[in-house]
Symmetry: D2
Subunit: 305 residues, 4 copies
């Protein structure tokens, strides 16, 4: 598959170190890269820097935006640029209909705008495959945070994983591998059955309040407030909470602080703790994604994964 | 929950050693047991033996049939009985409307019959939770068969797991725990991503034909013929196949034999290799299932899980 | 190293299927093989069958006897022969001084005889490396026996490993990998510390009598009677004992039977359960062993490893 | 064993947070604690602070010095004190003959001095049990350092462990648990055999130079320079080295820096990364050690473990 992208022009827009690894990988597969927002990075041989997003969109076959998407004003975070990159209506209108716009998280207004304009929007945060692979650097980052924040070892600790989804399983697996006594907390009987098979102590969320007092380290992956006041009052003050759920997390952080419980929010770990691995993951998934969306030209827009 | 079934009358009809463990567990939780098809078992204190299925159905609150259900003539397998137990129309008509009929696999004609008669049919083979827990004795049984059939150790072997579903994951997990080099074969990108996370060699079914030649032991869990003639021709004759898919399995057994490949069908392992564990699993799941279906009285029948 | 044994003449004397794999491997490395005791095996291309042991010893550079050595009369077990092969004084006297005699277990009289005659005796059962590698098929064989003898799964069982030596660690590791709750029993504080690191429940032999009652499966590796009457009386009758210690094992088998406890002696597993793997292990170790002992010619005999 | 130290007076001299956990644990077992070097710590109820080491030695039954012992001038590191604590000849002379002096590492001059004075010196760094238990926080600390220093995940990385001793096994075990591809490097064939059993890629030190180029993360535990210039030249510049061997480590750090290889020395991790766990380990081992050395009163000094 080494030259599978031969002749395909990709705009890589903003992002962080992950995108540097991605660019290099796409180039190796034959792609021609137009970069937006990389003025401050070490020069990348073979990449053309576009002076602006507007000028880039007309020159390429596919647009690659970062995983975390844009903020509420449409600004794209770009670690290697000082000039703001904004994905606004004007830019959207300049995108040719057959050019897919690949982005991690798309805000509702971006979705509806793209829909109106007939733009093919590909939201990668919906790709199970990507989310599972990204759960690996996320879990390692969370474990690293726990190692830094505790005075005990993970090995032999009572570690709780709240939520056994795509990230929860990875965390549980690694914690067990390090030697922790892992409690897996879920609601679905099938997830609890799998937890038993994996050798976890399986606890239904309905019974969490009776068990949480044993926890020395708590990893939360549930994106709504499971660690609320009532629950936190049952947590021992020595415990450490690492919350991986997307902002604002699933913990009442203020109340935790009042109780003297160390609670940490761990958002966007892959790009921070292991940009090279996270870049490799993108590089593993994007080429096939690009090829798939270039060959099936849709005339009507819909959000696709 | 120790007396959660107090006063509830359960008919346990046929089955094997699992049912003996189940009966004892249900009794401990306070249930009153009417047995059908246990004349040859050691007497169980507190259990009433019903002379026939017809007489049992009118006396109880819930009917518990075995996991493997009935054969095409409605006969219920009963290890501890010599007289045939038949679940026929006459019996079905005798079941009071509010009495749930719990059974593992229900044949299509049983379903439609039950539907016509307004019987609440609960098909446990559809319970993810039960299937996952049963995958543990299944996987161990399959590994035991592989140990017996091979001249090599599982440790260090190239073991392939075809199909990463409820049973496939359990198998992969155990094989890895014993020290095998495990290849996980699946179709869904998200399953392949999870396989990578688990440390398996992840292979798409589309590429299986290029990889299968390395396999020393092959475990199949896919219920249609994936190990067909074309695939078997790529398998080394020393390899051993253990097929866990429900009859007739996913292997062309005749052709495998022609090629000199040892291929074994492994159906219904839990009750054979670890009846006590399999009984405990039923005893873990049935009380709550019974309570749930007794309290929510439906007047119309539908297949429920 | 593929032709590292070029020109070296090896006598392979008796043994079982392992030796067939060993012969083929030694041939691939360039050795010339003289076989004794293989008349009933399928003919092996390139191997010369010697009519008797006496005639073989004068023709070769090294003598390879089986792992289990000889019986008290000097008889060498040979699966593929009906004529007895005897390693007696006459044979020993015929061995040229520089020809190493490689054997698994050497009885005391063989040792003293060899010593008197100045024969270089290499006792492989003393090779830590070999014993550790052989512990892999031994452990798998023992686990297979436990699977066959129990009505429960290894997964989730309370499994005890008595003795944390070369075989004990392997067993503990595999049992944990399958999902058992493993108790490791040892005497040395450093072994108990390692057991803690490995995630086992670590128990000092001094406290075994207080813990053994929880065991569902007991694997013994200690070669003296640890499972004596007093200890067996604390074992639950449902438990299964698999004893891997060399004959007569570490269990009072008669008393176990009186108590209704299933107790199995598991001797010589590698050659039985996984002859191919066991043969590969020999083939991995013997070439270097042969080269080492051929190049350093000793004139005085001592038992070497 | 909760009051096993009742009436025993222990001097705890210097150290770090570990000693705080140790003190509390010894107190719970009934010991009376005299502290030296804890003026700046939060007051510990029930502990008497001795104004100086000289005054403490005459009042107690046992002297507990930190694991890292003294520096070349006899100074004892004390995190919670500003006044220097010196273990000099004058202090040694003041120690009553039957009072054991427990210390981690004892310098040669301390040993000979103690020997001359007939002091019972107990060097805990020689206790296999303690070293193995301490390898757990050490390994976690080293892995944490690797996580912080790399741009890749441990999961999926090629991680090398140089030296399979008490710390090496723990590291290998944990790295494998996180999902790394672990290469274990050792010299003894029995260690390499165990590495194979554990599922590591086993490499003899003699062949390390041919393999080291594949390493992405290198953990060294060998206390002499294995990562010398010749070896470092074969390491990829992206690799990260974490050296756990006691000062000065086993790496030519200056040369590594010249080559652009990130190399980190990781000494004394247990007390830094997981003081509570490290304190619990001391508290697990010291009570029995104290009792053993108090009951067997020796009149002549020898270094004991």
């Amino acid at each position: 598959m080494s030259a599978g992208l031969k002749g395909i022009r990709c705009a890589v827009i903003g992002g962080d170190d992950r995108e540097l690894y991605l660019i290099s990988e796409l180039q190796q597969q034959g792609a021609y890269i137009v970069g937006v927002g990389f003025e401050k990075a070490s020069p990348i041989s073979g990449m053309t820097l576009a002076p602006s997003l507007e000028e880039a969109v007309g020159q390429v076959d596919v647009l690659l935006f970062p995983l975390f998407g844009t903020d509420e004003c449409g600004v794209v975070k770009a670690k290697y640029s000082d000039s703001p990159i904004v994905l606004n209506k004007k830019v959207l209108e300049a995108i040719p209909a057959q050019v897919p716009l690949v982005i991690g998280f798309a805000r509702p207004d971006l979705k509806s705008e793209a829909n109106n304009l007939g733009i093919k929007l590909v939201e990668t945060s919906r790709l199970d495959e990507l989310v599972i692979l990204n759960s690996i650097p996320s879990a390692e980052g969370a474990i690293q945070m726990a190692m830094e924040a505790t005075t005990i070892t993970i090995h032999g600790s009572n570690s709780f994983v709240l939520g056994l989804g795509r990230c929860g399983w990875t965390l549980a697996h690694m914690l067990k591998g390090i030697g922790a006594r892992v409690t897996g907390v879920a609601r679905k009987p099938s997830d609890l059955a799998r937890a038993v098979e994996m050798g976890l102590h399986a606890v239904d969320f309905a019974n969490l309040k009776d068990e949480i007092g044993h926890a020395e380290i708590i990893f939360n992956t549930v994106p709504h407030q499971v660690l609320d006041r009532l629950m936190l009052e049952k947590v021992t003050p020595d415990a450490v909470i690492v919350d991986l759920a997307s902002r604002p997390g699933g913990t009442d952080f203020e109340y935790a602080q009042n109780l003297g419980i160390k609670a940490l929010l761990a958002p966007g770990l892959p790009g921070t703790v292991a940009p090279k691995t996270a870049g490799r993951i993108l590089a593993h998934i994007y080429p096939q994604l690009i090829l798939r969306h270039l060959t099936t030209v849709n005339t009507t827009c819909k959000v696709e994964v």
